[in-house]
């Protein structure tokens, strides 16, 4: 499945970096893998590997927001660092605007850094405490050797205004700001060079709910004004529902479901997505009474990515798993228009393995509670 995608596309040969029209893919990822070696002993003999990201295929279309959601340890942050090339992929291919950037070195990536920027999760550790806001936000200009019109200082002050801070904050230090304001500084820095793609790794999870809403609205406004493309990584399914156009659900280093917002929340197909959605507490006391206990409770924890289960990685916790799930890995295939799912026995779609009906874990009591 992954090999077929490795053929060189026509665009890469010419290396032209032109703006793709709306809806065309800005970033294309195929067969992407990242394995972190686990070593032992004096000679650092490799004894295994953490399969953090183990074969991802997706594309990010120009102007859209792709939400990546999953539990901790599913590899979503590693994915973010791979597509911004902060990490070197083990295998696979990343194309940005048709150009292969999979194995570009530091120097090769530098021109691209203007187009791909990142917003980090923790607004406390992602800003250097010894630098003023001015020098933090102007760093991209210095590093890229860009002279904005009207001078760096003026441009930085404009950016501060864009993200809802005051231009007078130029000479202040990060510790003088609250969490929400710091996150705005991080956003101003990411926007400095007018990027095309912004990868935001948990941009609001460290913030209080009212501040979180301010930052979410800000990201929304900036996307409309500047035509940005976002990849937003988050574990909060409510935030993801609010911000994303399309959503990829990850489990143990793989995408299990990839579709648009309406389909994912309306007719989820993968059992894991269903379990995830049903687990989110709904801020509605009436619904609690009506819904009763139809929540799908997954037992246990996510298996170790060092030694993932055979076949479908979710089969150890899935209430629909059968023999085929243990032996054969389901491919990520479109089961409806624009709705890709990797499951042998999806919900809201025809069964992919109708012959195989013997449930693996009837006796183990995995599945719906109560």
């Amino acid at each position: 499945m992954t090999n077929s995608a490795n053929s060189e596309p026509a665009g890469a040969a010419t290396g032209t970096l032109t703006d793709p029209p709306e809806g065309e893919s800005l970033l294309r990822v195929s067969g992407l893998k990242k394995h972190f070696p686990v070593t032992k002993g004096l000679f650092k003999r490799q004894v295994g590997a953490v399969l953090a990201v183990d074969g991802l295929d997706f594309d990010v279309r120009s102007g859209e927001t792709l939400g990546i959601v999953g539990e901790s340890g599913c590899g979503k942050s590693t994915m973010g660092r791979l597509i911004t090339r902060l990490l070197e992929p083990t295998a696979g291919k990343i194309e940005f605007e048709g150009k292969d950037i999979t194995h570009l070195g530091v120097g090769g990536m530098r021109p691209l850094r203007r187009d791909v920027q990142m917003i980090f999760q923790d607004p406390y550790s992602s800003l250097n405490p010894r630098h003023t806001v001015g020098s933090i936000v102007s760093a991209p200009f210095k590093l890229q050797g860009v002279q904005p019109e009207g001078g760096v200082k003026k441009e930085v002050q404009r950016l501060l205004e864009v993200v809802g801070l005051s231009p007078e904050h130029y000479n202040r230090y990060p510790h003088e700001f609250s969490g929400g304001q710091r996150q705005r500084i991080g956003i101003a820095r990411a926007l400095a060079l007018n990027p095309k793609l912004v990868v935001a790794d948990e941009p609001v999870s460290a913030l209080d709910v009212s501040i979180q809403a301010q930052v979410v609205n800000l990201l929304d406004d900036l996307q409309q004004e500047l035509g940005l493309t976002y990849v937003i990584i988050a574990h909060d399914l409510s935030v993801i529902r609010h911000v994303s156009d399309r959503i990829a659900v990850m489990y143990l280093g793989k995408i299990v479901e990839l579709t648009d917002r309406q389909s994912l929340y309306g007719t989820p197909m993968h059992p894991y997505t269903q379990a995830l959605l049903s687990a989110v507490p709904v801020p509605d006391p009436r619904r609690k009474a009506a819904q009763g206990r139809e929540r799908i409770l997954l037992k246990g924890d996510v298996p170790s990515p060092m030694n993932p289960p055979s076949g479908c990685r979710f089969h150890t916790r899935c209430w629909k798993a059968t023999e085929v799930c243990r032996t054969t890995e389901p491919p990520l295939v479109p089961l409806a228009t624009g709705h890709e799912v990797a499951c042998h026995h999806p919900e809201n779609a025809p069964d992919q393995q109708p012959g195989d009906t013997k449930l693996l874990r009837l006796a183990d009591g995995v599945g719906t509670a109560g």
Partner: protein
């Protein structure tokens, strides 16, 4: 000596409850029973001896003096009659003020609420609204100044089962803490001791309050580990906290806090550090255990979803005070305070397709050293000018009952609030 009567009442109640426990608890109850009764009797004695000199009437002004004199907030308030209340837990005008170099931090500034057994109260608010300080106050953990800081000033009353906790003797409090009141902390990794096995820590919590041998305590700990859903509890008994995953650690914490069948369980952000699937497991566990043990639960969180899921009543805190209190149904469907509107508007919804934009509360939470004049929320309130005469900037609104059992602290007239909520807020949610 109303204290005595209540204490004596509590003993048979405890017996009944222990008998109602799980099967394993039943098997063990004869062993656990006698020491329980013994230590109860002791504690009753302790109350008796100290009760003569430290009656609530005498003690409260003596202790409260530090906090109130320096803050001067209680000047105009009438002295409350210090009667033990009917409710299982009643907090009256709780204040926790921390003296710092920059000034007095009024983390909790006049909080009152009550809670019955078997009920769950959800306390919601942003960081710095005083939620956690309240819970530590209930546990009596504010008595020591940490890291060389001055100790905080506490005043008000906390009545648990007819006993006043703020004026209680420290030894008395130590007996209650962990047995009658226990707490689940936010971060299980820092709340568990890394050098001791999980089992040993649970055994310790049990043996502090029960005179039983190690074997019996071990059996009890394993039974609890099993009850909270840890697989192979006998084996996991001797694991260290770092060998547990986040969800398992939180389960172990819950097992530890339930080992003495507490009557009041305080859960301070119990699921914030956990993934959503694990969070669902833990919330279910807390709900089941509450039904099983009939304890009162206070759940402190900033997640309105968690509150809606678990709570019977909701208390919304802002700037160290309660701004709205009511049943979960009322607070979610007919909220009365603009801050509650802001919280509801800030929240992205999982259960509906997106509204156009979120409607956040503007600005950031106030400094607790300089709480704004008048209504603490007025600088962030979009409706601060609705009440006539700028009263929001000069006078602090009292917590008033707008409907039976539904309280809110806002200067706006009920008609105005009703109109704004139905006409301006609801369509945008």
């Amino acid at each position: 000596m109303t204290d005595h009567e209540h204490k004596d009442d509590a003993v048979p109640a405890k017996k009944v409850k222990a008998g109602k426990g799980t099967d394993a608890a039943k098997a063990e109850s004869p062993e656990a029973e006698s020491p329980t009764a013994e230590s109860k009797a002791e504690s009753t004695k302790a109350t008796g001896t100290t009760g003569a000199s430290v009656t609530p009437e005498d003690a409260a002004p003596a202790r409260g003096a530090g906090g109130l004199a320096s803050s001067g907030t209680a000047a105009g308030e009438p002295e409350l009659e210090k009667q033990p209340p009917k409710a299982f837990l009643e907090v009256r005008d709780l204040r926790v003020h921390f003296p710092t170099q920059d000034g007095l931090v009024k983390s909790v500034d006049g909080l009152s609420f009550s809670l019955e057994k078997g009920k769950t109260l959800g306390i919601v608010g942003e960081s710095g609204s005083g939620k956690s300080v309240t819970s530590l106050g209930l546990m009596g953990l504010h008595t020591v100044g940490q890291y060389g800081r001055q100790r905080p000033h506490l005043s008000g009353e906390i009545w648990l089962n007819g006993q006043e906790l703020l004026t209680a003797d420290p030894d008395e409090m130590r007996k209650l803490r962990g047995r009658e009141i226990s707490m689940i902390f936010q971060d299980p990794l820092s709340a568990l001791h890394p050098f001791f096995t999980v089992g040993d820590q649970i055994v310790e919590a049990y043996r502090v309050h029960h005179k039983v041998d190690k074997k019996a305590a071990r059996r009890r700990a394993i039974e609890l580990l099993d009850r909270v859903g840890i697989p192979e509890p006998a084996k996991r008994f001797s694991s260290y906290p770092h060998e547990f995953s986040g969800g398992m650690r939180q389960r172990a914490m819950i097992a530890m806090s339930l080992v003495n069948n507490p009557e009041l369980l305080i859960a301070d952000e119990p699921t914030t550090a956990l993934d959503v699937t694990v969070q669902a497991q833990i919330l279910d566990l807390i709900r089941d255990l509450q039904q099983e043990f009939g304890s009162a639960v206070i759940i402190i969180t900033h997640d309105l979803g968690v509150v809606a899921e678990l709570s019977d009543d909701i208390l919304v805190m802002y700037g160290g005070r309660c701004v709205e209190y009511g049943t979960a149904e009322k607070v979610f469907y007919e909220p009365q305070h603009p801050y509650t509107w802001g919280l509801l508007g800030s929240m992205p919804r999982i259960d509906r397709d997106r509204a156009d934009r979120l409607i956040p509360v503007k600005g950031s939470p106030p400094s607790l050293i300089n709480i704004p004049q008048g209504c603490a929320f007025n600088p962030r309130c979009p409706y601060a000018d609705v009440p006539a005469g700028g009263v929001t900037r000069t006078e602090r609104p009292e917590l008033r009952e707008t409907q039976p059992g539904h309280l809110s602290a806002c200067h706006m007239e009920p008609e105005d609030r009703q109109r704004i909520w139905t006409e301006e807020i609801v369509p945008k949610l």
